[in-house]
């Protein structure tokens, strides 16, 4: 029975940018339908937990959030979705305190499911339509920038990766849908768009490949700028670098290296080598000397020798990544790497992880210092007690003093100093009037 009382909804999101986008799109859906978005701790009527399963740690975090949710929100409708819902569907369905378990392919219809529940209709999640692109353009969001989903799934079958099993095989959103989504998202007031998917370099809709689509997006009218979320090193051609001359495209790429050892890369079934990665980095920095590269590194992959790990450290130093998502290898059931020999101990993985993290901080500080003196256009995400914070073009975090400033506006700032000497360091600057 639907009552006139406004229902409340809260969201918890774990994992990647794609998950964050899908949560934002659900926030828009629920908000359009009249639900009030509330804090997770405010006894909401509905809690949606969008989970991740990419590593053991993600599983642990997802499980912990689910437990916390069912404990706190005893009377709420609890919906568990995301990659863990695919990977452990039956197990989660057996938990009485979870109302619905919704697979990724049906995530976009969660509002229908919840509405049906409140109106007394019995709908099983498996009856919902399967469509990974059915999301409305983001209007109300938990973030300042909005993602644009262009692609889902992957069929690279990297030996460590469970994504093809939980996100399905590679599929691309039709060009017209993508462009319409960009137009509407810009109309909704977003100034920065992040092109997102599981393996966006694999985008293909007829003759339109990733670079063609990106060109079309950049040519759309409007006051917005574009970032690219993580990209595989073999996901683009030689002309890709030229696109970054476009003023709307930001000079930053999260290019996933995973290892600096060619032998390890082959065991991971990554179809590029370090020399090819080097060629790309050089090509970019020859044109844009301060181009920002960040990356993912997996340490302690089965069989990774000291020498192979040292090659990774050398690569990290050489390519000067300003940030590294360091993952300790963890077994994902059903992957090829599960069956590889010579799995390393947690102790070795911890030691190697620490070394990469330390190097990452050092490189981050050096890269940020190299930007001091530059002007950056900062998209303000937050203003607290007269201090605005946000990210510049190169995706460096920047803070500066401001009076009468507003969130979601872009301000030009001259960078003056680096604050902090750890992972959370940032650049301070002065507003250029």
């Amino acid at each position: 029975m639907i009552t006139n009382e406004k229902k409340t909804v809260a969201f918890k999101t774990l994992g990647c940018r794609l998950n964050q986008y899908e949560t934002d799109a659900l926030v828009t859906d629920f908000s359009n339908a009249g639900y009030e978005l509330v804090d997770y701790n405010a006894s909401p009527d509905v809690v949606i937990v969008n989970t991740c399963t990419v590593t053991n740690q993600s599983d642990t975090k997802s499980r912990s959030v689910i437990s916390q949710t069912v404990r706190k929100a005893k009377n709420a409708v609890v919906v568990v979705t995301g990659c863990m819902a695919n990977n452990f569907k039956e197990k989660l369905e057996r938990q009485d305190n979870i109302t619905f378990v919704v697979e990724n392919s049906r995530k976009s219809s969660i509002l229908t499911l919840v509405d049906s529940h409140f109106s007394g209709e019995i709908v099983h999640p498996d009856q919902l339509p399967q469509d990974v692109f059915r999301y409305e353009p983001v209007r109300k969001s938990l973030h300042t920038r909005s993602a644009i989903k262009i692609q889902d799934g992957c069929d690279n079958f990297c030996t460590f990766c469970i994504i093809p099993m939980v996100r399905g095989l590679a599929t691309s959103r039709p060009v017209a849908d993508v462009l319409e989504s960009v137009r509407k998202t810009v109309e909704n007031g977003f100034k920065e768009l992040v092109i997102t998917g599981v393996n966006i370099g694999r985008y293909e809709d007829g003759a339109v490949k990733f670079e063609n689509l990106l060109t079309m997006i950049l040519e759309l009218p409007g006051d917005f700028r574009v970032r690219i979320s993580s990209l595989e090193p073999d996901g683009f051609g030689d002309d890709f670098v030229k696109l970054f001359a476009h003023p709307k495209l930001m000079p930053h790429l999260h290019l996933c290296l995973q290892s600096g050892s060619d032998k390890t890369l082959l065991r991971m079934r990554r179809m590029y080598d370090v020399a090819q990665f080097r060629k790309t980095v050089k090509q970019f920095r020859a044109i844009y000397s301060d181009f920002n590269f960040t990356t993912d590194i997996i340490v302690g992959f089965p069989g990774e020798t000291e020498e192979e790990f040292q090659q990774t450290l050398d690569a990290v130093n050489e390519f000067n990544f300003s940030h590294i998502h360091t993952f300790k290898y963890s077994v994902r059931k059903g992957t090829r790497a599960e069956r590889l020999e010579n799995h390393l101990s947690e102790k070795v993985k911890n030691e190697r992880s620490l070394l990469v993290r330390n190097l990452s901080v050092e490189n981050k500080m050096n890269y940020f210092k190299s930007l001091i003196g530059q002007k950056q256009d900062v998209l303000i995400e937050k203003i607290t007690q007269g201090t605005a914070s946000g990210y510049g073009q190169h995706y460096a975090p920047i803070r500066f003093k401001i009076t009468n400033g507003q969130r979601n506006t872009i301000q030009t700032v001259r960078l003056t100093e680096l604050i902090g000497d750890d992972e959370n360091c940032y650049l301070a600057g002065e507003l250029v009037l």
Partner: protein
Amino acid sequence: MMSLMKPDMQMDESFYKIEDIRQLTGNAFSIKLPKARFAFKAGQHISLGIVGGNQSREYSIYSGENDPNLEVLIKEVQNGYFTPQLRRLKVGRVLEIHGPFGKFGMEPELAAHGKFVFIASGTGIAPFRSIIRTYPTIDYTIIHGVRYSEEAYDRDQYDSKRYKLCTSRENKGDYYGRLTGYLKSCTFAPETHFDLCGNSDMIFDALEILKDKGFDRDQIHCEVYF
């Protein structure tokens, strides 16, 4: 023949009934299925699962693009989980096939004009058989590394002048030793394209040898098997 599918099981586009099993050696065999219901490029792979099972594995397509059957080449892994189950399958059982996948596929224009060296270890020869059956006039040499000569799967289907067998455990091939040893002794035309398929150690060593010979990485394509 009596159907081995459960009565309530719906036939799906991705379900293929086994038509034939060819035993090639004591532990290697090929499974013949109906013609692929999807278009593929010779060299690409598929994922294969047993209907009713909960796992799948990727296999290169062993048949040509225009062959009347879809075929895969399988070697049973001792103490493995999946291949012993495949080994026990009989004609009539149903497999679930998805694909095709992968960038390791031959382009028709290149096949018509290029010069190729295919380097394979063990069952890594599968994509090359697919390519050669699809493009019978292709200019190729196969260097096939195995332990014993009996692992020269379907050797009689290749031009004997173009097929070089390297056997590491017995002196019954064209070269006695690992294929990388043979590769070191070879000279190739500068415009040669190299396609490598097999285990990661072989591919790593072969890549190093080819790079030492002065070939550009862009001339070399790899497909890693596990």
